[in-house]
């Protein structure tokens, strides 16, 4: 039986976020796309277990996360993004990130433990609530909160962020801006 148009549309709309999540987990675009493809295949094969009216995106994220976990155990010794392919796929926006260079952020994110990273991405980037993220990761809400908190703290340590000013223009730019303001 073909997919219902609404289900099909919900699946497709979740793909961009799924890809971003998969890339952040695996650190490799090709592997991430394979993960997403495998996720969609599993979802379609088990579409009967999906309850209409519930969150399709969260359901797909759960499948993807479980797939990655099972794959991660096999490939634990591999270095994530060893060839830097992930970094090459994304373009840098230095004006957006201020002092934090794109490359630094990527490296810092990769240094986080997988459970903290996935929690941070689910809550901080994918837009899931703590409860939804807990459901995806199959753990308590408090655990997710703790992981997100530790991930943020660790990121700020790795990036040597002490205050919000660190995100803004760098020192030279600020000097120019302040000089321009005095005229």
């Amino acid at each position: 039986m073909p997919l219902e148009p609404s289900v099909r549309e919900a699946m497709l709309s979740a793909v961009p976020s799924l890809r971003a999540f998969a890339i952040s987990l695996s650190g490799n675009v090709d592997r991430a796309d394979d993960l997403v493809q495998e996720t969609l295949l599993r979802a379609m094969a088990n579409i009967d277990s999906f309850q209409p009216g519930t969150n399709m995106s969260a359901w797909l994220f759960t499948i993807l996360r479980n797939l990655f976990r099972s794959e991660y155990r096999k490939r634990r010794r591999e270095v994530e993004d060893a060839d830097g392919s992930y970094a090459d796929t994304l373009t840098s926006h230095p004006e957006q990130h201020g002092r934090i260079e794109f490359e630094e952020f990527r490296k810092a994110l990769a240094q986080l433990p997988p459970d903290q990273r996935e929690a941070l991405i689910l809550v901080g980037a994918s837009g899931f609530s703590y409860e939804e993220a807990a459901g995806i990761c199959d753990c308590a809400v408090g655990t997710i909160k703790s992981r997100v908190n530790r991930a943020r703290t660790r990121l700020s340590e790795l990036l040597a962020i002490d205050g919000a000013d660190d995100f803004g223009p760098d020192q030279s730019t600020r000097a120019v801006l302040s000089a321009g303001g005095r005229r």
């Binding site: 073909p2 497709l12 890809r19 890339i23 952040s24 994304l90 943020r152």
Partner: protein, 145 residues
Amino acid sequence: MAPQKKFRRPGNDFPKAALYFDEHREGPYGRAMGKEIMKEQKPLTSGPGDQVQGRAGSTEDNGARGGGGRPQGSGSVEQMPVRPSPTMHNEIHPRKRRGRLGRDVQSKLGKTLQAYFDDVVKEGVPERFRLLLQQFDDRQDKGSS
């Protein structure tokens, strides 16, 4: 001083000392046994009894125990052992701040994280995934017909 004397009561030491007694002596709580307890306790010079004696008389014992008691006499200051530097307790160890990121830092981190993934999300749905769903539908159609 009163609480320390309390601990010196023979009754408190009785179970320990009673281990050395002969079973044929007077009952476990008998008078003769009490005397023997006192006799047995004398050789135990390294016990807590020294502390009490030291407080009353010499200050050497106090020093040997790491400065646990106060000097009693006027000449006792010279005999006081070198104590650990008092700065040890005065040093302020700044606590490592953990889990105390400001809201502004948190929100900025979140924005940076989202910006970081914007490029991936903006790519939309790659064609391979549209084809995948289409192929699934086609297969299902053929199977049902």
